[in-house]
């Protein structure tokens, strides 16, 4: 049921680490001695069976794997029925950034907690509906800059890559010879320095 312990997309991925840090509700199936501090609202030393907590996803994944289950994961509220209905109605109107910064990354873990596959379907539905919007944005970025703030991390990356590619194509079409430019890090470094100098 759960994905094996391999890391997606790789062990060092910053985004994956941050996505697995998100809190997920779960219920303990066993007594866990000396882990009372996981539950900030209780002062007992041991964690009792049946305690419901919100724990980081990496801990939940580990506890719900293997032969002996320590805890049973539940769906975070943004993947539950009510929110799924909102997404089904019109995914393009939603501020996904407010739902969760890592909506898709988190979702791809969460979908294994849902046996009926509803979460799986809603992730796919959300992405395919919103993809046209992102593509449109990337090609005409000047239209409305605030709309960018409604994208989650994955979408934002897609937007940025698409936008850069479009810009490159435009300069190539317009002036064929590409001028030599300062490296992007150098450029940013200089801009930041200028800001600092102004502050002083």
């Amino acid at each position: 049921m759960l994905p094996s312990s391999s890391y997606q997309p790789n062990y060092f991925s910053i985004e994956d680490i941050l996505a697995t840090q998100e809190r997920t509700p779960c219920k303990f199936l066993q007594d866990v001695p000396r882990m009372g501090k996981l539950n900030p609202s209780a002062e007992e030393k041991d964690l009792k069976v049946g305690t419901e907590l919100e724990l980081p996803l990496w801990l939940v994944l580990d506890g719900a794997a293997g032969r002996q289950l320590i805890l049973a994961p539940e769906l975070p509220k943004i993947y539950r029925e009510a929110y799924r209905e909102i997404l089904k109605a019109d995914a393009t109107a939603i501020d996904l950034h407010k739902f969760n910064l890592y909506f898709y990354e988190l979702g791809s873990y969460i979908k294994h907690f849902d046996r009926r596959g509803d979460v799986h379907n809603i992730l796919l539905h959300t992405f395919t509906t919103r993809f046209r919007l992102i593509m449109d944005l990337a090609n005409n970025a000047d239209s409305d800059p605030t709309i960018q703030n409604k994208l989650d991390t994955l979408e934002r990356r897609l937007f940025k890559d698409g936008h850069n590619a479009r810009m490159k194509l435009n300069t190539w079409l317009l002036e064929s010879g590409i001028p030599l430019k300062a490296a992007s890090m150098v450029d940013n470094h200089r801009k930041r320095k200028r800001v600092n100098e102004e502050l002083v």
């Binding site: 680490i17 840090q21 000396r34 506890g63 320590i70 300062a182 490296a183 450029d187 930041r192 320095k193």
Partner: protein, 198 residues
């Protein structure tokens, strides 16, 4: 909560996309202590579980505690490794963009090991570039196909003296314009000294 500190290291990194935050030696040390403590605790629990399960034959009540403890250690190590690895990757990109000498304000953000690594990487790269072909090949040049041998550039900062490969010495002042062989000034453009005028 476990691994909270380790995760804040990663958050620091993710906040500056291009560039490096100061190396957070204190937090790294704290994470190391947390790992050590957890490891000690796990070793004790592990010994108990191993001993008792032989006698009783059924599942030990400490087993879940041990599982959670070891998950926390794994998580901490992952964050710590990812922190260092991603910093090195940025540093490597910096070698290609800034050249072999880093601006001083970036250098202050590095740990001494990272400075070491940078100079080693730099010299490895230099050695490799000298070894290509008969008299070496500068891989930092001609990243884009050249259209002409000479280009016009404007100097953006007071750089000082600059010697061309034929021996002529130029004085590069702010806002001065030059008409130079492309191969001579490409690196200075990448480093932000020149601006290419089309």
């Amino acid at each position: 909560m476990f691994a909270e500190k380790a995760c804040s290291l990663i958050k620091e990194l993710s906040r500056c996309e291009e560039g490096l935050p100061p190396y957070n030696i204190e937090l790294v040390k704290e994470v190391c202590t947390e790992i050590k403590q957890l490891h000690e605790q796990n070793k004790e629990d592990g010994a108990i579980v191993a001993n008792e399960s032989e006698i009783a034959g059924n599942v030990n009540p400490l087993y879940p505690t041990l599982r959670i403890g070891s998950a926390a250690v794994k998580r901490n190590i992952r964050c710590l490794l990812a922190y260092h690895y991603n910093r090195l990757r940025t540093l490597r990109t910096m070698r290609w963009q800034f050249g072999s000498i880093l601006p001083p304000d970036i250098k202050t953000n590095l740990s001494s090991d990272e400075i070491d690594w940078f100079s080693k990487y730099s010299s490895c790269l230099g050695k490799y570039m000298r070894s290509i072909g008969e008299d070496g090949l500068n891989l930092c040049l001609d990243l884009r196909p050249p259209k002409s041998l000479y280009i016009e550039v404007k100097c953006l900062i007071d750089y000082g003296k600059f010697e061309l490969s034929d021996g002529t010495v130029l004085l590069l002042k702010k806002d001065s314009r030059h008409y130079l062989p492309r191969s001579e000034c490409e690196e200075l453009i990448t480093q932000g000294v020149f601006h290419h005028i089309v």
